[in-house]
Assembly symmetry: C2
Homo-oligomer: 308 residues x 2
């Protein structure tokens, strides 16, 4: 029995080894796809190399390094074993920080102030005292609920939309296709936290963006594939949207020639909204392995057909 860790960020192997050495010293950990063997029973991975699973005949479960699993389910050779995602692994706090920063950025007109600084324009009283922006969280799951709480605690009115109705203190919950329009109509800052699935891919398109009120903002910290880039740019350039803060993209690193980089109303951050915390993640993975080795089902299993 051993755990195989693979990620394109190979410089992180040492961090993962250390975290598991601390938390589960008896667990054998190997790093890199070239370590695939009959001995490997568990895989912890981020963007596994295609075909990896074919060289792992004794696989019992696959763990994603993140909250999303699209980077694993896109491999058709994924065998029928439990696919387990990170519950929080320290990401909730980081995602909340990013979301709160984005909310304050637009609440207090730091986007306008930033452009004004470039032209040495002193334009006070743009901020004034205004009601707080209505934040709408598209994807009110585990992370979404943590983020919602942080925003509510800081005085922002928060609503959320998800496939099924959720109960989160102080948050207005919308659900299903039927309530998406109402949700969007009252959202001034749309925070995208949906998983990347067949249903959600390209969902943030012209049709959706036009249902936001004029002057609304998009913040995407989920997956680049959710957004139709051209239609987002069009919505901003037409003046319907005020701007966007984007952490994730169809292709990462974002290609140098992409219009997002130089757009004055778009903030580009390099997929840093929430990085998995090694210790918290290793803790969660080792507890799930203990459960499975004791014959119990793992707790954070993803439904591969749903994608989350």
């Amino acid at each position: 029995m051993s755990l195989l860790i693979t990620t394109p960020h190979t410089s992180k192997y040492e961090n993962w080894r250390e975290a598991f050495a601390q938390i589960a010293p008896d667990l054998k950990v190997v790093c890199g796809a070239e370590q695939a063997s009959e001995e490997v029973t568990y895989v912890l991975t981020w963007h596994p190399p295609k075909g990896l699973f074919q060289s792992l005949p004794n696989l019992r479960a696959v763990f994603s390094m993140g909250a999303g699993v699209d980077h694993i389910t896109s491999d058709p050779s994924l065998p029928n074993v439990p696919l387990i995602r990170q519950r929080d692994a320290g990401m909730g706090t980081q995602m909340s920080e990013y979301a709160l920063y984005a909310a304050l950025h637009y609440q207090r007109d730091f986007d306008i102030v930033r452009l004004n600084q470039q032209s040495q324009t002193w334009a006070p009283f743009v901020s004034g005292v205004r009601p707080r922006l209505n934040i709408g969280i598209l994807g009110l799951g585990t992370l979404g609920s943590v983020v919602a709480n942080a925003l509510v605690q800081n005085g922002f009115p928060v609503s959320g939309w998800s496939r099924s109705k959720k109960e989160v203190d102080g948050v207005t919950s919308y659900s299903g296709e039927g309530e998406l329009g109402d949700f969007l109509a009252q959202t001034e800052l749309l925070l995208c936290l949906l998983p990347d699935t067949e249903q959600t891919r390209g969902m943030v398109n012209q049709n959706l963006l036009q249902q936001l009120p004029k002057g609304a903002v998009l913040v995407n910290v989920a997956r680049g594939a959710l957004v139709n880039d051209d239609e987002l740019l069009q919505a901003i350039d037409s003046g319907h949207l005020r701007g966007a803060m984007l952490d994730v993209f169809h292709i990462e690193p974002l290609p140098t020639e992409h219009r997002f980089w130089s757009h004055p109303n778009i903030v580009v951050t390099p997929h840093v909204a929430a990085e998995t915390v090694y210790a918290a993640s290793a803790q969660q993975v080792s507890l799930e392995i203990q459960r499975m080795e004791a014959g119990l089902p793992p707790t954070e299993v993803v439904d591969p057909s749903r994608g989350y």
Copy 2:
């Protein structure tokens, strides 16, 4: 008996009139220095025109539109009547928003990300997971305590320095000249909230900045006169300081040729951190007037010799 309101922002007169009409409909309110007369018993002002007080023989008290009173005490014709400042007047919340934004800006490396976007540089994992920045509030008065609470609630370790020891929940309090060095040595983000007095003018100079740890940040939301601009620029250009976010300046509007505008490590905002909220302010002013008309002393009197 009447209240005279004067401010260089004459477009605000209508807001003030409305606020007082709502809150104290019986109070006679006149706007603009040209309305000075024997009838005026109270003045509410921001940067009063020099000599104003000479045309007000029956003055009973002067109210500042802000938390600071330096713009009033600088007029030698100020008579010996109570000088009253805004207690909070809605500024605590706004100042907290600004401070929290600044804290998250540097905590999550948005300063670096912003420069990287300009050069289309994708440099992820600059943020990572780090301990929260130690925030040091220079000037732990009424506003400082409100801001400290907001930062503590969002997980930032906060300390404060003031002339006399203060008790604020969850905040380490330093006081007096003797403890200033210890306070600065542990401060990673220095948030300046001191009043502008003879003692504080120019206090944020090379000597003070050098006592901050390397890589520290300055955020000034108090008064421009506290800072020695050249020495601040030198501290940043030498690499000792990481940067600064500045809302207040020696001369406002900040002159077009000032180096702050174009410095890559300085964020310039046009004195918008906290604007007095008309309703809250009118409420406070009318209560103080009621007290005085009833023969009671006003509550928020400034000691003109101390300056706060």
